[in-house]
């Protein structure tokens, strides 16, 4: 018995990035600082480093994703890791294998990092209890999407120089959004004031307990905001039980240049993508490089993920 205990104690407990909720301010700042150094690298002709040479990174995506998956893919490769992306649509999980079984199988191959995207909230937490390697959450259910919040923070810092003291509005389907939750935690942590704006049916219960002010009126919610983050409205929620229609949503919650005037004069727009043009955001506004940070978000996403991989992979 004593021997058994000993081996357990020796066993290394890897660190995981499961959510902003589990992060300290210092850890968040370290990631952002580290990421800054990768921005230049990513813009240079030679982008390859060997920091993670010999390390194996598995991207385990249970939900379709374009930008997050390719971003993690590139980030790993640029750091020199061997990256494998598991297409879950073809895996045994479709044949009834549980998440834990898959995790144990992958674990036996000695990966150093598993990046997981899963439709169920808490799936990365469960995975992290069962594997020996680092687990990085690339989005779980409606709970957290920590690297998205971190890249949003980096984008804001890049433009505004800081986050502390800024007023940030998050607008749209807050109820189903992991991006909203992670951003609420991170922006609060870094000293911003956060407003959330949504129709009542898309506002989660007790959201104020997360340290935000909630609004159903864009005019009031955007008042004085420096950053306006728009969220994607999923197709299936546009009609029926959550909202009367796409048209009505656009009328009251779609971001247009008129509504943007409620915010501060130099307000900037963000969107985690993919955008529904003409539903949550006016298409011209989305492409206006003077106010829209959408492309920059994607660019800095790679840098942030490189920083996370470097700092969390031992």
């Amino acid at each position: 018995m004593a021997v058994k205990k000993n081996t357990l104690a020796i066993k290394d407990h890897p660190k995981h990035l499961l959510g902003i909720q589990n992060l300290s301010i210092q850890e968040a700042k370290n990631i952002l600082e580290e990421a800054k150094s990768f921005i230049k690298l990513n813009r240079s002709p030679s982008k390859k480093l060997d920091i993670l040479r010999g390390k194996t990174q598995i991207n385990l995506f249970f939900e379709p994703s374009t930008r997050t998956q390719s971003s993690f893919d590139l980030a790993g490769k640029r750091l020199g890791a061997d990256v494998m992306t598991m297409n879950v649509a073809n895996s045994a999980l479709k044949k009834g294998e549980t998440l834990i079984d898959t995790a144990m199988t992958l674990n036996a191959m000695h990966p150093d990092i598993i990046v997981i995207r899963h439709q169920d909230s808490g799936a990365p937490n469960l995975l992290s209890q069962k594997v020996n390697c680092t687990v990085i959450n690339a989005g779980d259910g409606r709970r957290e999407h920590p690297t998205q919040a971190l890249l949003d923070a980096l984008t804001i810092i890049n433009r505004k120089g800081k986050i502390e003291g800024l007023k940030i509005a998050i607008c749209g389907d807050i109820l189903h959004s992991r991006v909203a939750r992670s951003n609420i935690y991170l922006m609060n942590m870094l000293g911003a004031e956060v407003n959330v704006i949504a129709p009542k049916t898309l506002m989660p219960k007790s959201i104020e307990r997360l340290g935000v002010k909630s609004f159903t009126d864009m005019k009031k919610g955007l008042n004085g905001c420096d950053i306006v983050m728009m969220l994607r409205l999923q197709n299936e929620r546009m009609q029926g039980s959550f909202l009367p229609s796409k048209r009505e949503y656009y009328e009251f919650y779609g971001l247009t240049s008129e509504k943007l005037k409620f915010a501060s004069q130099d307000a900037l727009i963000m969107h985690p993508g993919p955008m529904n043009r003409g539903v949550e955001i006016d298409t011209k506004l989305a492409d206006d490089i003077n106010v829209s940070l959408v492309k920059e978000q994607v660019e800095l996403g790679v840098a942030v993920r490189m920083a996370c991989l470097k700092l969390y992979c031992k």
């Binding site: 909720q21 549980t98 998440l99 834990i100 899963h118 169920d120 909230s121 808490g122 799936a123 937490n125 469960l126 779980d140 259910g141 409606r142 709970r143 957290e144 992991r178 939750r181 989660p204 219960k205 007790s206 959201i207 307990r209 997360l210």
Partner: protein
């Protein structure tokens, strides 16, 4: 069987408002022959076995109105033998078993099977329920009359609710005539769709779909409206929120006759205990706010809630080792029912006699069975209890076949020392 006398005990029997030092004599047939402070050794035959209980407490054997035994179909979760052992070591001598087995208990031949099987394998008193509707589909009512005649104690769809109001009206109308007991799980499935925990701050933080208290309240309101028209024997299986209690209060004050249960889990845990996705605390109805928990305890004190149940729901590890939304619902609890309930005595939120009442005579009265009492002439189903003994819950030490305890590691005070079933010593710690 020899006559027995249990001496030097504190006898606590709410059915006869008894709380006194005294003795209990059990006759050769396993019935209570004499009880109380006036009983002397001379009241027994000279050959009687004498047991000195050293001032420990005697209560009637507990009647648990809601437990799942895996037979038939889910023997890997629990069987009659393991359920009996778990029950007896928790002082439970009578158990109402749920019909959501595989196949579902909704016909006469299934009842024959489980009664025979229970007789062969179980060592507790079993009172089986049949499903309220055929195949628990919520559509056609079960054969209440035929099933009752075969020994079915009550009718419930366990974790399902009859959603169709017209069907429920017909069920209650028919049941009111033949006098069967309807036990309803109260949940509006449209309102609770996809939900797995209380709708509130914790569900927002964990990113899980919530179940609002309204889902429960609205069915209780509907059923109690119907009950006004069709006065049958109606029991709400388990309530979870303060708002439901308000509805119950209003209707009981109006003079409507019905009974209400609550799970020990909802009395001793709240939504914050779910922590970082602890699937063993995924329960139905869900754990709610601390304010709800306090209101439920008050509900017992004021008599609005009649019984405490274990809601014993064994689930194997595979069913629980999944992302929270996919994980199985329920926790075991028959063995820890009494010790956990005693917490409310030790922290002075309820009088001890009230706790025992909700675990013994109250369920017996609702079920119309001659249990939960130590009155002269009744079956000697007895639990002997050390009220103060401290211990720590370790699921691996529990007798249930499944180990999904919602209170793993909890420090409890009070433990069952002995359990007698029909006068025979059936468990000794």
């Amino acid at each position: 069987m020899k006559e027995k006398i249990l001496i030097n005990a504190r006898i606590l029997d709410p059915s006869q408002k008894m709380d006194e030092k005294g003795s209990v004599v059990i006759d050769e047939k396993g019935k209570i022959k004499a009880i109380g402070k006036d009983v002397k050794k001379s009241d027994t035959t000279s050959s009687a076995e004498i047991l000195d209980l050293k001032n420990h407490i005697i209560i009637p054997g507990i009647v648990d109105m809601k437990a799942f035994v895996g037979e038939p179909g889910y023997e890997y979760k629990e069987n009659f033998r393991t359920l009996s052992q778990a029950a007896l070591s928790g002082g439970v001598t009578s158990v109402v078993t749920m019909p959501n087995t595989k196949p579902i208990i909704d016909n006469v031949s299934m009842v024959d099977f489980i009664i025979r099987r229970g007789r062969d394998k179980a060592s507790i008193n079993l009172f089986p329920c049949a499903s309220l509707t055929r195949e628990m589909s919520g559509k056609e009512m079960s054969e209440f009359g035929l099933l009752s005649a075969k020994g079915i104690i009550g009718f419930t769809d366990v974790v399902k609710t009859v959603q169709n109001t017209e069907t429920m009206a017909k069920i209650m109308d028919y049941a009111s005539d033949i006098g069967v007991l309807i036990m309803q799980h109260t949940e509006d499935f449209e309102l609770s769709k996809g939900g797995c925990i209380n709708d509130g701050e914790v569900s927002t933080r964990l990113g899980l779909e919530g179940i609002s208290y309204i889902a429960e309240k609205i069915i209780i309101e509907r059923d109690l409206s119907l009950l006004g028209e069709f006065p049958c024997r109606y029991h709400v299986n388990q309530i979870s929120s303060k708002e439901s209690l308000d509805v119950i209060k209003r209707n009981k004050e109006k003079g409507l006759k019905f009974s209400v249960g609550v799970s020990i889990n909802n009395l001793s845990l709240n939504e914050n205990d779910i922590g970082d996705f602890k699937t063993f605390l995924k329960l139905s109805p869900p754990l709610r706010l601390e304010n709800d928990r306090i209101a439920l305890v008050e509900g017992i004190k004021s008599g609005l809630i009649d019984v405490i149940v274990s809601d014993h729901t064994p689930e194997d590890e595979e069913g629980k080792r999944l992302p929270f939304a996919q994980a199985a619902t329920g926790a075991i609890g028959i063995e820890t029912l009494l010790p956990l309930a005693l917490e409310m005595h030790h922290n002075e939120s309820l009088p001890l006699s009230k706790i025992i009442e909700t675990l013994t005579i109250n369920p017996a009265k609702i079920l119309k069975i001659n249990k939960g009492t130590l009155k002269k002439g009744s079956d000697a189903d007895i639990c002997v209890l050390d009220l103060d003994k401290p211990w720590v819950v370790n699921a691996n030490d529990l007798k249930s076949k499944s180990k999904n305890s919602a209170i793993e590691g909890r420090k409890l005070q009070g433990k069952v020392l002995m359990t007698f079933l029909n006068g025979e010593l059936a468990f000794k710690s």
